[in-house]
């Protein structure tokens, strides 16, 4: 499965967060954030919800299939 819309990098940069800082907040490794940003890995529902909570936005604004 691939994501048609992945705005994680944009949101991260808007919030002036480094990959390391975001990974820390989302309780994952930095490699996972890199992998999601590159589109190599599709985040789980739990992680997608966590990320939307961090950026205070809807999940569909971050990712779409």
């Amino acid at each position: 499965m691939t994501l048609s819309k992945n705005k994680l990098k944009e949101f991260r940069e808007q919030h002036s967060l480094s990959q390391e800082a975001l990974a820390e907040k989302a309780e994952v490794t930095r490699q996972t954030i890199i992998s999601i940003e590159k589109g190599k890995c599709v985040p789980s529902l739990e992680l997608a919800l966590k990320l939307s909570k961090i950026f205070k936005c809807k999940v569909e604004n971050l990712f779409q299939i």
């Binding site: 994952v28 490794t29 992680l47």
Partner: protein
């Protein structure tokens, strides 16, 4: 002693000492089995470079105890997240496929020329081979995701 580790990225903190106790208990059990085998003269044949199964078991048990204690010093807090779980399951899946392929190839080779090595030696080669295959596949999958 750092006795806390993160498991599966969901903030679940597991007591590492519990795992260490299980490891040590199993190692001691292996040593005791080895001692019993040696006393009762069970398996008095050459076995994996040792002159009896009991002595080999004692050696392995002591090695396991040493490794368990050494691991305490090197153990660090680690996060296991969904990506790592995915990589682990993918590499395990490919290792399983390779076992089937490997078994198929061995069957053919055995049909052409019977394999006459002892069973324990064959199994130890197989286990070592599988570990190497798993490590290599893990490293490959790690680059893919």
């Amino acid at each position: 002693m750092n006795n806390i580790r993160y498991v599966k990225g969901d903030n679940m903190i597991k007591d590492y000492t519990k795992i260490l106790i299980y490891k040590l208990s199993f190692s001691v059990l292996v040593v005791i089995t080895g001692v019993i085998f040696t006393i009762l003269n069970i398996g008095r044949t050459d076995f994996l470079g040792f002159n009896s199964v009991g002595r080999w078991l004692i050696y392995i048990g002591v090695l396991m105890i040493a490794v368990s204690f050494m691991a305490i010093g090197f153990k660090k807090k680690r996060k296991i997240d969904e990506r790592m779980k995915k990589i682990a399951s993918e590499s395990a899946r490919w290792t399983f496929v390779s076992i089937i392929l490997f078994a198929f190839i061995i069957m053919i080779i055995d049909g052409i020329k019977p394999i006459t090595i002892p069973y324990y030696l064959f199994m130890s080669y197989l286990i070592c081979g599988l570990l190497i295959i798993h490590i290599v596949l893990y490293k490959i999958v790690l680059r893919m995701y």
